[in-house]
């Protein structure tokens, strides 16, 4: 029965004690892994063994384990979240690997995402970009009628596609330039598409683009690696839309 087959894997994992530690790769063996383990469950097994041996477990970020929280900042064999299309690390299963495989596990590497410990990075720079304009200012008060503001269905759909972003930072990790254009483009587009977002559209794109630079992200050179890395499959058309919004803002 395939259910009883187990795999033994060699993991080459980035270990770094703190933000200032230079860090280095350590090699571990993952034993008794079945094809049903998720990648994070595989790491849990390795950590159980490490703890039993009195060693420091591998520190990694995780939260929902259902593919929507965006915490698992791991580059696996050179691809963010392991490179399977539209997949976070928790949704990557060990059936994608073979017995005897060697797997490299590294944290997101970007100046804007300092490594805190092992595979955990600080993604607060994405919050800074959102704080620069990723919102709409509106007065509170009575709940408006649902159909008071009409939004055509295709526009609502497109805005929702952009809103799928979970802020995981895989686009930055996959980008050879560490640019945050897909993340920022998705938020700028989501709000620019909707009537509620239009009044602040010009100021928003200016402020968010400035924030990207201040946070230390790189510049986009249209490689489109971000779209391939995105666990939600966010399209680079939203970067084009942000560029369009930016051009418009220059004349507003």
């Amino acid at each position: 029965m395939s259910d009883h087959k187990t795999m033994t894997l060699t993991l080459i994992v980035w270990r770094q004690k703190s933000a200032n530690d230079p860090g280095k790769f350590e090699t571990y063996t993952a034993k008794n892994i079945t094809e049903h383990h998720s990648f994070l469950e595989m790491l849990d097994c390795v950590n159980e063994d490490l703890i039993a041996a009195g060693k420091e477990p591998i520190v990694f970020d995780h939260d929902c384990r259902e593919g929507i929280c965006g915490m698992c900042s791991q580059v696996i064999n050179g691809a963010p979240h392991g490179g399977q299309e539209r997949t976070t690390v928790c949704q990557l299963h060990m059936r994608k690997f073979k017995d005897g495989d060697t797997i490299y596990i590294e944290p997101w590497r970007a100046k804007a995402f300092p490594i805190l410990k092992d595979l955990v990075v600080d993604r607060a720079a994405l919050d800074t970009i959102i704080q620069a304009g990723g919102y709409t200012s509106c007065h509170t008060g009575g709940v408006p009628d649902g159909n008071a503001v009409l939004i055509p269905k295709p526009i609502a759909e497109e805005a929702t596609d952009a809103a799928e972003c979970i802020g995981c930072g895989a686009c930055v990790a996959g980008c050879p330039n560490s640019a945050a254009m897909l993340f920022t483009g998705a938020k700028v587009s989501q709000l620019a598409l909707l009537p509620q977002g239009r009044p602040e559209a010009a100021a928003r794109v200016t402020n968010m683009v400035n924030a990207m630079k201040e946070c230390g992200f790189g510049n986009c050179t249209n490689h489109y690696e971000c779209q391939a890395s995105c666990p939600k499959g966010i399209d680079v058309k939203f970067i084009a839309r942000m560029n369009r919004e930016y051009l418009k803002s220059l004349f507003s």
């Binding site: 490299y104 560490s178 683009v209 230390g216 992200f217 510049n219 399209d235 058309k237 369009r244």
Partner: protein, 221 residues
């Protein structure tokens, strides 16, 4: 002026100057193809250009400014991008980036070197291979000069190599222009990418055909 400082602003300036230089590459190819008419074709074309006088110099200064803007921002952007990625991954598995998109700075700098050589050769005419003279109608004999130089296999090969580098640069550059200007979406991107490649191939074949035809003797005096 925030267009000069922000990431997207500088990108737009690079895209516009890049695309205007692509237009020059189109016009230059059309002009060059007058060599296939023979000495009468290209010598007459060169004389018409030179008779424009000060306009030629204005045009040259404009082209120089395009090269400067495109080049300076290109270098700045590459340095910033390297700084944004201080530590490389031990393993990097790229799925969308290409030989073209990864090497824009190097193909760009090589094209710049080629332009300097090309101007010293056929515009300033100071390289040792240059044969200067006038044709029967008293015009500068561009045809004889070009054919003599391209009879040298090394020079012909260098030109073809430079056109391969230009192809690599424009293969990424032409489609990139539309994305940067925001004139793109998920439906147009695949079409624009293919068209960009086709145009880059046309340049490669068109420009390379001149040294190749001369070297092989298909085009001769």
């Amino acid at each position: 002026m925030q267009i000069l400082t922000t990431s997207i602003g500088r990108k737009i300036l690079m895209a516009i100057t890049g695309q205007l230089m692509v237009l020059f590459v189109v016009v230059h190819l059309l002009g060059n193809s007058s060599i296939f008419v023979g000495a009468d074709g290209i010598n007459a074309y060169a004389k018409h250009l030179h008779d424009l006088g000060p306009l030629v110099w204005i045009f040259r200064l404009v082209m120089l400014s395009f090269i400067a803007i495109h080049g300076i921002y290109g270098i700045q952007l590459t340095l910033e991008n390297n700084a944004a990625t201080p530590q490389a991954y031990a393993v990097k598995n790229l799925s969308k980036a290409t030989l073209s998109s990864n090497n824009m700075i190097w193909t760009g700098l090589l094209i710049l070197l080629f332009i300097v050589y090309h101007l010293l050769q056929f515009t300033v005419r100071v390289t040792p291979d240059i044969v200067q003279g006038v044709d029967a109608l008293g015009r500068y004999d561009v045809f004889n000069m070009v054919v003599t130089s391209f009879k040298n296999g090394g020079i012909a090969a260098l030109y073809v190599a430079a056109m391969i580098v230009l192809f690599l640069h424009l293969n990424h550059g032409i489609q990139s222009f539309f994305q940067t200007m925001g004139w793109n979406n998920d439906k147009t991107l695949p079409v624009i990418s293919k068209l960009g490649k086709v145009v880059a191939v046309v340049f490669l074949i068109g420009y390379s055909s001149i040294p190749v035809f001369i070297l092989t003797g298909i085009l001769s005096k």
